[in-house]
Symmetry: C2
Subunit: 133 residues, 2 copies
């Protein structure tokens, strides 16, 4: 098979594996990194809002937040203005963990793009961005 959809699948799978392997030593997965990064960038948010922003199902997001909370990387506190919501915020430990995850993620991206020159990497990313619109 050499179809475009197949090539995309192969490349995506390779990238997925490299990122997962890069995160494994820290005991977390991609979803955990995504959530920590979103909290660090955009500040605390309710679980429902996070789910909508990250296009993650509320069920799955709940599980992700739970494991992060168990490790003290985020905290869940009730929203004073709306007792239904639980606001999730990143902790100091979470921020430090995120820094370590980021360095690993960056080098994984480097591995993914290793076969390409700098100019080609830019081309590829630009083309991929246009594909998803």
């Amino acid at each position: 098979r050499g179809l475009p959809s197949w090539l995309l699948g192969q490349a995506a799978r390779r990238a997925h594996d490299l990122v997962s392997a890069a995160l494994a030593p820290e005991g977390l997965r991609r979803q955990h990194f995504t959530l920590l990064a979103a909290l660090a960038e955009r500040g605390p948010a309710s679980q429902a809002d996070l789910g909508r922003q990250l296009w993650v199902d509320r069920s799955d997001l709940h599980a992700i937040v739970s494991t992060l909370e168990d490790q003290g990387l985020v905290v869940r506190r009730a929203d004073p203005n709306d007792q239904r919501r639980k606001v999730v915020a990143i902790t100091g430990a979470g921020t430090r963990k995120l820094k370590r995850l980021e360095t690993r993620i960056v080098s994984a991206q480097e591995e993914v793009l290793a076969p390409l020159e700098a100019a080609e990497r830019g081309q590829l990313l630009a083309l991929l961005r246009r594909l998803s619109t």
Copy 2:
């Protein structure tokens, strides 16, 4: 997220969904198409050989062949030279089904690459091929 690995994942997922949707009316999935196409191109082969060629686990390949056999699209017959092997071959109905699947697959690829010009499509495919080496 705008990381290379994320962009690849997004594009691959979109391609995957389009292909699955294109195949759905025929009642089959991507793996079934892959197997029928391989049999049509390279001729009959044992299940173990097919698994190695297509990088599909023997377990999964067994299930794929079974559903295709139930629909009369392939046949399993014992290899006279080696009673362990069962040679899988595409049938006339399988060949006709494959033609229909191919037209659907081709138009799905067209949808995947729709946002790009012809020259850009070539660039993207060339870059993706180099990524998986």
